[in-house]
């Protein structure tokens, strides 16, 4: 697997994301669907149960209202209340009458609502009755909710009013709305009935509710013309305290006198949803983990061999054709590894053959070159010697001997030169590195090669301004550079421009020698660095080979680019520093 040192996402990571996404997505879908179904099922059941509870509540309230009406009527007809109305009883006699009638509250009042006797607050005789009863209700036969002030505070009661003694007085009586009313309802577990009473009190079977203000939004909702309202109330910061309510208003003459609330605890439903969610999360997490593990195992099975393959390929690319990949399986990856190994073996054989062939070709080329080089001086040698042989008997023998010996010495000199070049090339010494300024070397070489005037060649130097000091062998560099300059000059017999450029890079210095000659073909470019290959009519063909050898010894790189008719550019890249010859070298791939 290609493992880039940059931001490329690995196959394993992609596989992990994909598998995780698929697992998570599937689990989320399933979890969501189950949650929604569960919620709907709960809602449906709870709705029915709340409706039933409210109906039961209404019936109980109606029954108690009837009872209150009956008791108040009995009280109104009782002798004691009539005595009170007539002013013939003690001021607190209403207490006795209330107890007899089974009423919690009983006020006997004048027609102008002045209290004659009060059961629950006897001391208020003579005061106006202050129960929250609408003026019309004082003459109504209905039973209604009213708030009644008591010494201990106000309470709500089911209240009825009846005339006494033909209307000479009125009796208002009631029974407190207590949690007992709600307790009497049979509610299913998890359900409860509440009664909200204005201005903001709520009672349940266990007593008053601590935070009735949390019902405010529901109460507001029932004030709409529709009347009924549903909603959920969360009582504490814990979501499981939530309750879903169905609320029904109790109104009288357009005024809200109370609200019946049937509530279902959402704790079970929420718990189930949480459980579903938890399960989904667990399954999802497990799936992701399994996916990760599976992905890891899978990628291990795939990527490791691929990585090994890649490492092997890199080694091969680096020149190590002996690199082999371990074959650990018989599947496609194993086949691939085997193929790779076969490929590298073949490459190795091919390289060896190529090397051998190249060697043979190089030897042939060398032999040809030697033959060519040597042939040139040898032919005149032969001719000269033959001339000597022929002229031995002639009178021009001395002149011929002098000319022939001169020619023999010149050609022997050429042979010596040729052999000297080959010897030099064969025993080029190891470079002695020192810090040199490449710009200085360039200037030196150019100066040397332009000592003689070359009127048709224009030298151009584009040298980097600074930092061109590198570690190099100056002599070898001059030699290599000199060969390249000579080749460039030789490529422009008619004249042109010789450009030498230096440029700084992070890794070192780039040196370019460009001519404006007729250029090289592609084949020529490919064979250019082969020793003894030359396109010149003269020369040993070693110049570029020497230049390549020097560059190679400097751990640099030389390349050529050319186009026919557009000149040729030799590019030499030299590192700024050379490795310590004593430092251990890493195995290169």
């Amino acid at each position: 697997m290609a493992r880039s040192r940059g931001s490329a996402v690995t196959f394993r990571t992609k596989l992990l994301f994909i598998s995780s996404f698929m697992v998570a997505g599937a689990v989320a879908l399933v979890t969501g669907a189950v949650s929604i179904s569960t919620r709907r099922a709960f809602d449906a059941i709870d709705r029915e149960r709340r409706q039933a509870l409210l109906a039961q509540f209404r019936d109980e309230l109606a029954a108690r209202s009837t009872e209150v009406a009956r008791r108040v009527e009995l009280a109104a007809l009782s002798r004691g209340v009539q005595q009170i109305a007539a002013g013939a009883a003690e001021y607190d006699h209403a207490q006795t009458e209330a107890a007899s009638a089974g009423l919690d509250f009983l006020d006997v009042v004048e027609p102008d609502l002045t209290i004659i006797s009060s059961a629950h607050w006897p001391a208020r005789f003579g005061y106006k009755n202050d129960w929250q009863i609408a003026p019309d209700d004082w003459h109504s036969s209905d039973v209604f909710l009213a708030r009644i002030p008591t010494p201990e505070g106000s309470v709500m009661a089911l209240t009825a009013v009846r005339p006494v003694a033909g209307g000479k007085a009125l009796v208002a009586g009631g029974r407190r709305l207590s949690p007992e009313l709600l307790k009497s309802l049979g509610v299913a577990p998890g359900m409860r009935a509440l009664l909200w009473l204005p201005p903001g009190e709520a009672i349940g079977a266990e007593g008053s509710i601590a935070d009735p203000q949390k019902l405010a939004s529901l109460i507001q909702a029932v004030r709409t013309p529709n009347g009924e309202a549903t909603g959920a109330v969360q009582w504490t910061s814990d979501r499981s305290s939530s309750e879903a309510f169905l609320a029904l208003p109790i109104t009288r003459a357009g005024t809200l006198t109370g609200v019946l609330l049937a509530g279902t605890s959402l704790s079970t439903q929420l718990g189930l949803e949480r459980s579903i969610l938890r399960t989904g999360l667990v399954v999802g997490a497990s799936g992701i983990v399994i996916g990760v593990l599976l992905g890891w195992w899978t990628t291990e099975r795939i990527t490791r061999p691929v990585e090994r393959l890649a490492a092997g390929a890199r080694a091969v690319a680096g020149g190590d054709l002996s690199a082999r990949v371990e074959v650990l399986s018989r599947d496609e990856i194993g086949e691939l590894a085997r193929a790779f190994n076969v490929m590298t073996e073949q490459l190795l054989e091919q390289r060896d053959r190529a090397i051998q062939a190249e060697r043979v070709a190089a030897w042939r080329e060398l032999a040809r070159r030697l033959a060519h080089e040597l042939k040139n001086p040898l032919f005149p040698l032969q001719i000269t010697i033959e001339n000597l042989q022929r002229s031995r008997e002639s009178a021009e023998f001395d002149e011929v001997f002098r000319e022939s010996t001169t020619t023999l010495l010149a050609e022997l000199g050429n042979l010596k030169t040729i052999i000297g070049r080959f010897s030099d090339f064969a025993k080029m010494p190891a470079p002695q590195f020192e810090t040199v300024d490449i710009n200085e070397i360039v200037r030196g070489v150019m100066k040397l090669n332009f000592q003689l005037e070359r009127p048709n060649v224009k030298p151009v130097l584009e040298l980097a301004s600074d930092g061109t000091r590198i570690q190099a062998d100056p002599d070898q560099l001059r030699r290599a550079l000199g060969n390249l300059v000579l080749n460039a000059l030789d490529a422009m017999p008619e004249g042109g421009t010789l450009l030498v450029r230096t440029a700084l890079h992070d890794w070192g210095v780039r040196l370019e020698i460009s001519d404006s000659g007729q250029g090289l073909t592609e084949e020529e470019c490919q064979r250019l660095f082969t020793p003894y290959y030359t396109t010149k009519q003269h020369g040993t063909g070693l110049g570029l080979a020497i230049a390549q050898s020097v560059v190679s010894d400097h751990h640099g790189k030389i390349s050529v680019s050319s186009a026919s008719g557009r000149g040729t550019t030799f590019t030499i890249d030299l590192p700024a520093s050379q490795p310590d010859p004593l430092a251990p070298t890493g195995e290169t791939a």
Binding site: Y91, D92, W121, P122, A123, F125, G126, P151
Partner: protein, 425 residues
């Protein structure tokens, strides 16, 4: 003085007066034990030990003269009459008053009470009327300490047994100078609620029990007699120290609808009053305002106010009054609520313990824990000063009532009370 005349002399301090009504033509009989029950729980009858409980003090003043007598006694007009002192003369030279003591007055142990030289001298540093008034007061009763430390008196009854706060038995003093009482003994059960007393009366366990003022108008039951006194208890609002400023006390006073309470709760028994002492005793009670002025009351209460309110919940007369007072006060913006500990304001019964305003005010000063003021020229000024210093707000004067079985005759002059065994049950 003969017994007939003596019988017309008020016992005690002219308290518990009753009108003479038709009487049966029966001669009194000696013997028997009168069984009395009452709410008060008295620690003792020692004249020097004054109870701090108003109810107990009122009862103490009622019963004490049966055991410990004074040199002079106030008659039914509040005038001092000879009692243990038969006469008094002034000796100008020595600037003293000489009180001749009655002869042959026997103490409860049978010994003769005989002050040195048969007289008692008192400096003449103040008018004789004041001296006589003081001598008629309970604190001036003649008490002799016996060798065993017990207290001996000269009254028609002696203490045979005293269980402080619970019960007591008084037995007739056979050698009483005014003649042995008809009764052999009086048994007193103390600390009994009105309901318990009524119950005991119904089952015949008691001959005389107290009833609430509002029940005085109830039709008498067969075999019972209702005896009442003129207004002897002052129902008043008493404030705790200086916690409630004068302005708010006045606001509370102005908020109370006394008329409604009097008409309905008290069934028109007693009288509405703004004075500490009732009209029958002073004649000037009308000088202390008692009208309701709710508008003014509201003006005096700058912001709604809450005070703790205390009263005796066992007192069937006080409780409805207290509840009504709380309702009235709420109209003025004053909330009276029950509380624990010392209440800011209490509804109390203050007894009128003497037939003389000055003596009565003396006891009230002690009950109200007010600073004693030098006696002013008039009892009106004294009373006014006491009300201002104590901040008390009188509301009503209530009579006391007793329910008597039909066999009880000549109630409540105990030395003349006798039991008619032949009376219809």
């Amino acid at each position: 003085m003969g017994r007939t005349a003596l019988r017309w002399i008020a016992a005690g301090n002219a308290i518990l007066a009753l009108a003479v009504a038709l009487e049966a033509a029966h001669r009194p009989r000696y013997g028997g034990e009168l069984r009395v029950e009452m709410r008060a729980a008295i620690a003792g009858l020692d004249p020097g030990a004054v109870s701090e409980d108003p109810v107990a003090l009122g009862a103490q003043r009622q019963w004490m003269p049966l055991v410990f007598e004074t040199l002079v006694r106030l008659d039914d007009h509040g005038r001092p009459q000879p009692w243990l002192a038969t006469s008094w003369t002034h000796e100008t030279a020595r600037k003293i008053w000489i009180f001749q003591v009655r002869k042959n007055v026997k103490l409860h142990d049978g010994s003769t009470w005989s002050p040195a030289s048969g007289s008692i001298t008192i400096p003449d540093d103040r008018p004789i009327e004041h001296i006589l008034r003081e001598l008629a007061g309970a604190r001036s009763a003649i008490v002799v300490k016996a060798e065993d430390g017990s207290l001996l008196g000269t009254g028609p009854f002696r203490i045979a047994r005293w269980d402080a706060g619970k019960s007591a038995t008084l037995v007739a003093h056979d050698q009483y100078w005014g003649g042995r009482p008809f009764l052999d003994s009086i048994s007193i059960q103390m600390g009994r609620s009105l309901a318990d007393q009524a119950s005991d009366f119904q089952i015949g366990k008691a001959d005389a029990v107290e009833i609430a003022a509002r029940d005085l108008r109830a039709p008498k039951q067969r075999g019972t007699t209702i005896a009442t006194t003129p207004p002897m208890d002052t129902v008043a609002l008493q404030f705790d120290g200086g916690r409630v400023p004068a302005q708010l006390r006045q606001a509370l006073a102005l908020s109370i609808d006394r008329a409604s309470i009097h008409n309905v709760l008290l069934q028109k028994q007693g009288e509405i009053s703004g004075a500490l002492l009732p009209k029958w005793l002073t004649g000037y009670s009308f000088l202390f305002p008692a009208e309701r002025n709710l508008v003014r009351a509201k003006q005096l209460v700058p912001a709604p106010l809450s005070l703790t309110f205390g009263y005796d919940r066992q007192d069937a007369a006080i409780r409805p009054i207290a509840e009504r007072v709380a309702v009235n006060a709420s109209e003025a913006g004053i909330t009276l609520r029950q509380g624990t500990g010392a209440a800011d304001v209490q509804l109390v019964r203050l007894p009128v313990t003497a037939g003389d305003p000055w003596l009565a005010l003396q006891d009230l000063t002690a009950l109200l824990k007010a600073a004693s003021v030098p006696p002013a020229a008039s009892s009106y000024e004294n009373e006014k000063a006491l009300m201002e210093s104590s901040g008390v707000i009188p509301l009503f004067h209530l009579p006391r009532g007793w329910m008597l079985s039909s066999k009880v005759k000549n109630w409540p002059r105990f030395e003349d009370v006798w039991l008619d065994p032949g009376a219809a049950p």
